[in-house]
């Protein structure tokens, strides 16, 4: 085997321990020598190191990911491809996936976030699907810190910059601010695409002799070792060249050209070049087909001169794809790419020898069995240990957080609404083009976004959800809750949840406690996916999210897509019709037992103690029933608006519904509790009622008990909704009424416990983030 004269020799790789700089352990290196039957040269070592990195091999997570349910009658493509695909009937299907770009964002927030969006779009159009929507899920440290504001502001601009330019609407997402994400932001991007069944393309390199093409941008020295870097413990100190600049204009052309090319039927396999570029795309394509690939580095179009095979194979230049065409059909690619002003270059061919062979002209630069790179990649059995703090958590907190007066309660409500995590995310999503393609029927701001399926009466609802604090406090329930909330948001929009894509963001998996949180939350997500009938069809893992030894909260993010059968079922969270009844599906009284554990209210009032109380109880059976009842009621045409109770508790959900509808609400908790508990609960008399009353109302308004949905229903339809609730064995109470005026009042124990103007609440809620970002 020849190597470039510039590269260190195979012996030097071993003797100087160069493989360690690439992130390979001694044991892994020894295993590589065994698999190769000799010492790997420099290029081969580089290739192994990226393929066996956490990012490409999923070595810490592969065992856990097998626990997810991944099949179902609708699943056309489960995990393992660039994106999963589900059937939506009539020969149509949706492809979707979520991906993290946390580490690059920490270093260069604009480009890091932008290239995250670019990558996930390629994953979707690679499958033959036309991308129709983008979502994201973001975590930053608190906005009182200038660096956090910089990371947040630039990430949002980067996400918008890419999606807006390429012309795919960004229709939804979530943003949470917490100390735990300071200097370790999370940027997860999701893309949804639409296709006909006969357009499905896959990433397999089959057919000996078929040509292998690199299409799109030229290869430069960008991000060499980015994949290794993504798994590194201290991104800041790692090689900084691993940040790339995205070119959304190029990607737009690439997307159009690839979709046109796939439609010709002359494509055998296609795969985007993401992390580890040419290396992982070629190895994975060969692996899926059980074939081999020979690539000639001399033919790869480069942006810079003098690039070595090592650099070309490891480059992470963006906006490139690897395509295998039917033999003799290269001209089809030529013609299409020429129209779009792009290059399509044959750089190799498919073989049957099972080898990834890298040549440079006549010279062989590397030769590795594909199975060694993919199937033999290490799978680790990481030690798992339940952290002590979980067993020290206490029952629901007592009275001492309760506001002492009505004025204080009102101030608390306004302060809560102005918490950046709760406040309107308009500052974020107004920077995103959410309307291009003119199919966005529900724009950001409701529970889920709704995007039409052109030419049909149907629509897709989509959302991203996750709550790291909840997973920290109870990994199993927290994992399940993330799935439940995503499904609940879809149901509130009138959709039947279809399937899940997940982005698993955790700290350092080498810490047994972190690994335990990871493991238990995967179990919780898996069980919830089973209970709700939403298999996992794609996903992504991001580990080593820590700074200075402090892990982020374990933060699995669920992306979910649902199907709305008819346009008439589309429902938003705007309680807009005066005189409609405000109903609750689920237990209005659950907070009395659950308390405030895990709530945003507690995080605001008692930041130091907020992590010492247990999460509310969660019952998947009830959750499922509540969701079914809600969807049935919507489909029966009985529901004007629906909104689930989540972050910030009942009061936040009510305020959001009121603000969105531009209406006041008159809420009577006496009546509601009376209905929920029977006669004995309401109106405890006279003395001491005040203190007890304040504690009661604090719990009722701020606890984040799950499995609850608010509905706005016309008087005439209330009984029909009650019957549906009864059929599903779901408790239902009347909370109050939608008003023509803009007064928002809550009554308890016969007194007005809270009275605010909707405008006042709206100002606090809508202006909070812009105020910070001025």
């Amino acid at each position: 085997m020849n190597t470039s004269t510039l590269d260190p020799s195979a012996r030097e790789v071993r003797e100087r321990g160069i493989y360690r700089q690439f992130g390979l352990t001694d044991a892994e290196y020894a295993r590589i020598v065994e698999l190769q039957g000799r010492e790997p040269n420099y290029v081969e070592t580089g290739i192994f190191s990226v393929m066996w990195s956490e990012h490409c091999s999923y070595k810490s997570s592969r065992r856990l990911l097998r626990r997810f349910p991944t099949s179902g009658p609708m699943v056309l493509q489960g995990p393992g491809e660039n994106a999963g695909i589900v059937d939506i009937g009539d020969g149509l299907a949706v492809a979707f996936k979520i991906e993290s770009h946390n580490h690059p964002t920490a270093i260069e927030p604009f480009q890091g976030a932008a290239t995250g969006v670019g990558g996930i779009i390629r994953d979707v159009f690679t499958m033959g699907a036309r991308p129709i929507a983008l979502l994201n899920s973001l975590r930053f440290g608190p906005l009182d810190d200038a660096h956090n504001r910089y990371l947040f502001g630039h990430s949002v601009a980067g996400i918008g910059g890419y999606g807006n330019c390429i012309g795919i609407p960004t229709v939804g997402g979530e943003v949470v601010f917490d100390e735990r994400y300071t200097h370790n932001p999370l940027v997860n991007a999701m893309c949804v695409g639409l296709m006909r069944h006969d357009q499905i393309a896959r990433g397999a390199a089959s057919g000996v002799g078929n040509p292998v093409l690199v299409v799109g941008a030229r290869t430069g020295r960008d991000g060499i070792h980015g994949a290794t870097f993504a798994s590194a413990q201290d991104p800041g100190a790692k090689e900084r060249s691993a940040v790339q600049v995205g070119d959304p204009f190029m990607e737009k052309l690439l997307m159009e050209a690839c979709l046109e090319l796939i439609a010709t039927g002359e494509v055998v396999g296609i795969q985007d070049m993401g992390a580890a570029g040419l290396t992982s795309s070629s190895a994975e394509m060969a692996s899926r087909a059980g074939s081999g690939i020979t690539l000639d580095m001399a033919r790869v179009p480069c942006r810079e001169t003098g690039m070595t095979p090592y650099e070309i194979m490891l480059s992470e230049s963006q906006e490139r794809m690897l395509v295998v065409m039917k033999r003799g059909q290269e001209h089809v690619a030529d013609a299409i790419f020429d129209k779009w002003g792009l290059e399509a270059t044959v750089v190799g061919h498919v073989t049957d020898d099972g080898l990834l062979r890298i040549v440079e002209g006549e010279r062989v630069a590397a030769e590795i069995p594909v199975t060694a790179l993919v199937d033999e990649a290490p799978v680790l059995e990481r030690p798992s240990q339940r952290p002590d703090y979980l067993d020290a958590l206490k029952e629901a907190p007592g009275d001492h957080f309760a506001p002492r007066s009505r004025a204080e309660l009102e101030a608390d409500v306004l302060a809560l609404l102005a918490r950046p995590t709760i406040a309107s995310k308009e500052w974020v999503y107004r920077q995103y083009d959410s309307m291009v393609r003119t199919e966005t029927f529900v724009r950001p701001g409701s529970d889920a976004a709704v995007v039409g399926v052109p030419g049909t009466k149907r629509a897709l609802a989509m959302t991203t959800d996750g709550n790291g604090r909840q997973v920290y406090l109870d990994p199993y329930a927290g994992g399940a809750l993330a799935v439940a909330e995503a499904a609940r948001n879809l149901v509130c929009s009138g959709a039947e949840p279809l399937a899940v894509t997940d982005c698993l963001n955790y700290g350092n998996p080498e810490k047994p406690e972190t690994y335990y949180l990871f493991e238990r939350s995967v179990d919780g997500m898996s069980d919830a996916c089973r209970a709700l009938g939403t298999p996992v069809i794609s996903g992504n893992v991001s580990l080593y999210n820590e700074t200075g030894g402090q892990d982020i909260y374990p933060t699995p993010v669920i992306g979910m897509v649902g199907l709305i059968a008819q346009h008439e079922h589309i429902t938003t969270s705007a309680f807009a019709v005066a005189s409609h009844q405000v109903l609750m599906l689920g237990r209005v009284d659950a907070p009395l037992q659950d308390g405030l554990g895990g709530s945003e209210y507690l995080a605001m009032k008692a930041p130091d103690e907020a992590l010492s109380w247990r999460l509310p109880a969660f019952d998947l059976t009830l959750e499922r029933a509540v969701q079914s009842a809600c969807l049935d009621a919507i489909r029966a045409g009985l529901v004007q608006a629906a909104h689930d109770v989540s972050d910030g508790g009942l009061i936040t959900a009510l305020c959001e519904a009121a603000i969105a509808g531009g209406r006041g609400l008159a809420i009577d908790l006496d009546v509601a509790l009376g209905q929920a508990l029977g006669s004995e609960s309401s109106r405890p008399d006279g003395s001491g009622a005040n203190t007890r009353g304040q504690d009661l109302i604090t719990r009722l308004l701020f606890a984040e008990s799950p499995s609850r949905i608010l509905l706005a229903v016309a008087d005439a339809d209330v009984e029909a909704v009650r019957a549906i609730a009864a059929k599903h064995k779901v408790p239902m109470v009347t909370l109050g009424q939608v008003l023509a005026e803009s007064d928002f009042t809550v009554q308890l124990h016969g007194h007005v416990a809270l009275s605010l103007k909707v405008d006042t609440m709206e100002t606090a809620w809508r202006g909070a983030i812009s105020e910070w970002m001025r």
Binding site: C165, F249, R430, D433, V436, F441, R443
Partner: protein
């Protein structure tokens, strides 16, 4: 009536424009690639929104040199209707077919939202189905929508009633001079506007107020045609 929607590399509202023309005007619309050199067969030419050539250097700066732009100029000179939306407006100003220039939004941020527009002039071929002074809701989606002309030019434009739409309700989303959202050329057959009428053509999209831009053009064309035929 025949409509062409011009596609530059990087256009992304081209299909939306076609959909709007088809649904509102009940007429067909063809996508024409930026290399097309002759547009004489069309009655209406739409330069759609998007990021032609990535909006690199300046929005519209590179697109204005596309071969099709000579054909657009010729069409405009012949009196065919030319409608530039968003990036299309930027391209038309760069090409000198409309006065002024579009700068970065004052907020330095991209803005996508439904805004209120005041119909300033309901006497143009593009706005006759509106009522002068009425307020309509049409979305914007742009980073460079901050319209600029100097004072002397503005005075001339006002005098010639070239301002068709202004941002209303005291909310100017981008810093445009005199709240200008859309302008017409002196002969009245070329309109450029930052808001997207093609995104507001039925209730499911949040507003149907943009439809009347397209219906106005159709009415104007019919009038002109009946005239010719009579």
């Amino acid at each position: 009536m025949r409509t062409a929607v011009v596609q530059f590399p990087g256009s992304n509202c081209d299909e939306d424009a076609v959909k709007a023309v088809v649904s509102v005007m009940g007429a067909s619309a063809e996508l024409v690639w930026h290399t097309t050199a002759d547009l004489s067969a069309y009655d209406l030419i739409v330069i759609p929104g998007g990021f032609s050539y990535g909006d690199y250097l300046r929005s519209g700066a590179i697109a204005r040199f596309s071969p099709v732009m000579a054909a657009v100029s010729a069409a405009a000179a012949r009196g065919q209707y030319v409608l530039g939306i968003c990036n299309g407006f930027q391209i038309l100003t760069e090409a000198g077919l409309l006065p002024g220039a579009l700068r970065r939004n004052e907020s330095l941020q991209y803005r996508c939202e439904l805004v209120d527009l005041k119909v300033e002039n309901a006497n143009t071929a593009f706005s006759r189905d509106y009522v002068a002074g009425e307020t309509v809701r049409i979305p914007i989606a742009h980073g460079d929508g901050n319209y600029y002309v100097d004072e002397a030019q503005l005075a001339g434009m006002e005098a010639r009633r070239q301002i068709v739409f202004r941002y209303a309700s005291e909310y100017n989303p981008n810093g445009s001079v005199a709240d200008i959202a859309g302008v017409v050329n002196e002969s009245g057959n070329v309109l450029g506007m930052m808001p997207h009428p093609e995104r507001a053509v039925h209730a499911l999209l949040g507003s149907a107020d943009g439809a009347r831009v397209f219906s106005s053009i159709l009415t104007s064309w019919r009038d002109a045609h009946e005239h010719v035929n009579a």
